[in-house]
């Protein structure tokens, strides 16, 4: 029996081991190729992946925004273990700050408004966190939920914030028109270069959303590096210790409150950035873009993918953002199918699609212990008989 238990993890390690064992230059080349593929994806427009009838670039931009949000929320929920049901509030603060500064009350360029928007949402994270992070567990969930709703309702009811009409003409990022790249056309079954359908590189226009996707993807990649650095640092360890056992962490000298606040502020930072980018792409926002439903979708992205694992949450974000777009044909039944998928996932894969290594290890150990205990019990019974 012990062979059966220990044989299991080896199979998973095979492929992984091969990747890890590769020489470093090869690994880096592999990653760069993957990144290039990701950048080129909207130009290739592969037949099955590309959703029919909608702009693939726009869909991919939405995916990158969800990825960004999921990375931010993963810090709060996955690393620090704080349940946040009002994450859309930070997203809204970022979007509204950018909107107000570039269009509604001032005429700032977006690049100047972006840091202010991010600072505003980080500040709101600290202001919300400082009093509420002392409240534990599920109370924090409902307080953050209340916060998200308050932000939305205030935006709906305040003329100064555009009220229900929203704010339009939000500034776009500046970009020189450098050269044009043709898309691929798959209509005939074989890929052909289509020179009627081109993307002007780095021209952030209304119709062509691909440059936005590139911008979003770049930000996501930068965030992935930052996330990796933070997670492996003292801060990341402190977050995980706080999540696992707050009292023990405090006793070991981790100032848990300060680290929880830091996690909250970091999450708010990324949320605000995502919101500001979203506002710039849409060029128009209104309170309906910040419903409680989105907080729930963001949380679903994190939990579905495997909270605590940055690749996992990216997969989750991709699924949550992309599947409803891909299956627009089922328009009416989208939400129904999504709900059923969430339930199925929770029941059949409770640790998420790609759980962090830690969780997998803990689960394996639990199984081994169970197996040993069962063995001991059967032994006991036989000896009694």
């Amino acid at each position: 029996m012990s062979t059966a238990v220990s044989a299991r993890p080896k199979r998973g390690a095979g492929l992984k081991g091969r990747v890890v064992a590769m020489p470093k230059p090869l690994k880096i080349t592999l990653w760069v190729l993957l990144a290039l593929l990701a950048y080129a994806l909207p130009l290739l427009e592969p037949p099955i992946i590309s959703p029919p009838g909608t702009d693939f670039g726009g869909v991919l931009f939405t995916v990158t925004i969800y990825c960004l949000v999921a990375l931010g929320l993963n810090i709060v929920v996955g690393y620090a273990g704080l349940l946040d049901l009002g994450y859309v509030g930070f997203y809204a603060i970022g979007a509204y700050t950018a909107a107000i500064l570039t269009s509604f009350h001032a005429n700032w360029p977006l690049l100047l408004a972006l840091p202010v928007a991010v600072a505003a949402s980080t500040l709101s994270g600290v202001l919300l966190g400082a009093p509420t992070l002392r409240v534990r567990g599920d109370y924090l969930a409902i307080v953050t939920l209340g916060f998200g709703e308050i932000i939305r309702l205030v935006a709906t009811n305040t003329e100064w914030l555009g009220a229900a009409k929203g704010i339009s003409n939000i500034d776009r990022p500046p970009g020189p028109a450098l050269f044009e790249i043709p898309h691929l056309n798959w209509d005939t079954g074989t890929p052909l270069l289509d020179f009627n359908d081109t993307t002007t590189v780095l021209q952030f226009g209304v119709l062509d959303q691909i440059p936005y996707y590139w911008l979003g993807l770049t930000v996501v990649i930068l965030m992935l590096f930052a996330d990796r650095l933070v997670k492996d640092s003292r801060v990341g360890r402190a977050w995980e210790a706080t999540r696992e056992d707050e009292d023990a962490a405090e006793l070991m000298g981790v100032p848990t409150f300060r680290f929880k606040l830091l996690a909250f502020a970091t999450g708010a930072f990324i949320g605000g950035l995502a919101g500001a980018l979203y506002a710039s792409r849409q060029s128009f926002i209104n309170p309906l873009s910040f419903l409680l439903l989105y907080s729930i979708l963001f949380l679903a992205a994190v939990v579905v993918g495997g909270q605590g694992n940055r690749w996992g949450v990216l997969v989750g974000a991709f699924l949550v953002a992309y599947l409803p777009e891909r299956f627009r044909d089922f328009a009416d039944f989208r939400v129904l199918a999504f709900g059923a998928a969430l339930m199925a996932l929770a029941i059949f894969r409770p640790e998420g699609l790609l759980p962090p290594r830690r969780t997998v290890r803990a689960k394996q150990m639990e199984q081994e212990i169970d197996a040993l205990e069962e063995g001991a019990e059967t032994d006991g019974e036989t000896s009694r008989a």
Binding site: Y139, V143, A340, L342
Partner: protein, 331 residues
């Protein structure tokens, strides 16, 4: 700040606030009991309520209720609607427990996953209501059931069966029979539930499971049964709330549960989650504060008042007004 309006209409605002608060409180019971026993936010409880409103509406339609029927017949139809709402809500709650929670509890899944499962269940249930014309179409019943399933995504209203008769005057506000029914019914149901949980054998099992599920199981409490009874009671209360809501508001739609659910959960937290009397107090406080606040600041600020109140109370009393615990001894 419209203080004049608040003072001139103070009695009316208070009474209608209490009526709303009573409905919140009845729904909040479902959240608070499930939380007390399983430490789990039953996100799908809002749908339990929504199905109750439709059960009441459909019963009234099926029994041919409209504004013209005699008052005796009208009351009989309403009683039938109440029973139907309670039964349907209880059935939905039990179904939820069976499908969305029990498989997770068996595997000892993390609590956040149970929340995701509940969110999924909530989407599925709400969308099934919102697509009920299509669902009926699968069985070819769209025509014959059109009275019930048409207008699946818009407001559906129930005919008025009970005249809004003035019963007595409360400082110049004519209290209607509906207000009295809603408040009294809610308080009576709460009292009955409280006594049941305190005194009956099943209630003791629930409290024991809430305190320490493992020890309770060792002492012979069937914990699966205790959880089932918890969901059943929550469902019954939500069904009663749904009926009272239909009596007072008279319209419903497929996503009616969402806002009511959020408010009711707020009420549960406000009073101290896991605490039955806290749910009543939290609901009433929330209903009245909302009404006063919206009179003072304008009705568009109603929900903001509710959430700000919640945040402020939790800051000063992190476990709610009455403190938590269904099992009493749990700290």
């Amino acid at each position: 700040m419209n203080f004049e309006f608040l003072f001139n209409n103070f009695p009316e605002l208070t009474i209608t606030g209490l009526a709303f608060g009573a409905i919140y409180a009845l729904i909040a019971l479902g959240y608070t009991m499930v939380y007390g026993v399983l430490q789990l936010i039953n996100f799908a409880h809002s749908e339990v309520f929504a199905y109750g409103t439709f059960a009441a509406l459909w019963t009234v339609l099926a029994l041919g209720g409209d504004a013209g029927v005699s008052s005796g017949r009208g009351i009989a139809i309403l009683v039938a609607a109440l029973v139907a709402a309670m039964l349907v809500s209880a059935a939905i709650a039990l179904l939820l427990e069976r499908v969305a929670y029990r498989p997770l509890l068996k595997r000892n899944a993390p609590r956040l996953i149970a929340l995701i499962s509940a969110i999924g269940a909530s989407f599925v249930l709400a969308e099934l209501l919102g697509l009920r014309d299509r669902v009926a179409g699968w069985f070819g019943l769209e025509e014959s059931l059109s009275e019930y399933v048409s207008g699946a995504r818009i407001n559906r209203s129930m005919p008025t069966l009970l005249e809004r008769k003035k019963l007595f005057s409360f400082f110049g506000y004519d209290v209607t029979v509906i207000d009295v029914i809603v408040i009294v019914a809610a308080i009576v149901m709460m009292f009955a539930l409280d006594q049941f949980v305190r005194r009956s054998r099943l209630g003791r099992g629930i409290r024991a499971t809430a305190q320490d599920a493992e020890t309770a199981a060792l002492m012979g409490v069937n914990s699966t049964r205790a959880v089932q009874v918890t969901f059943l009671l929550g469902g019954l209360m939500a069904g009663a709330a749904a009926f009272l809501y239909m009596l007072k508001i008279e319209t419903t739609r497929f996503d009616v549960g969402f806002l009511l659910g959020v408010k009711a959960f707020t009420a549960a937290v406000l009073g101290g989650i896991g605490n039955l009397r806290g749910a009543l107090l939290g609901g009433l406080v929330l209903g009245v504060a909302e009404n006063w606040g919206s009179a003072l600041l304008g009705s568009e600020w109603r929900d903001v008042v509710a959430f700000v109140l919640l945040v402020v109370i939790l800051l000063f009393r992190p476990t709610g007004i009455l403190g938590e615990s269904l099992g009493k001894a749990r700290t």
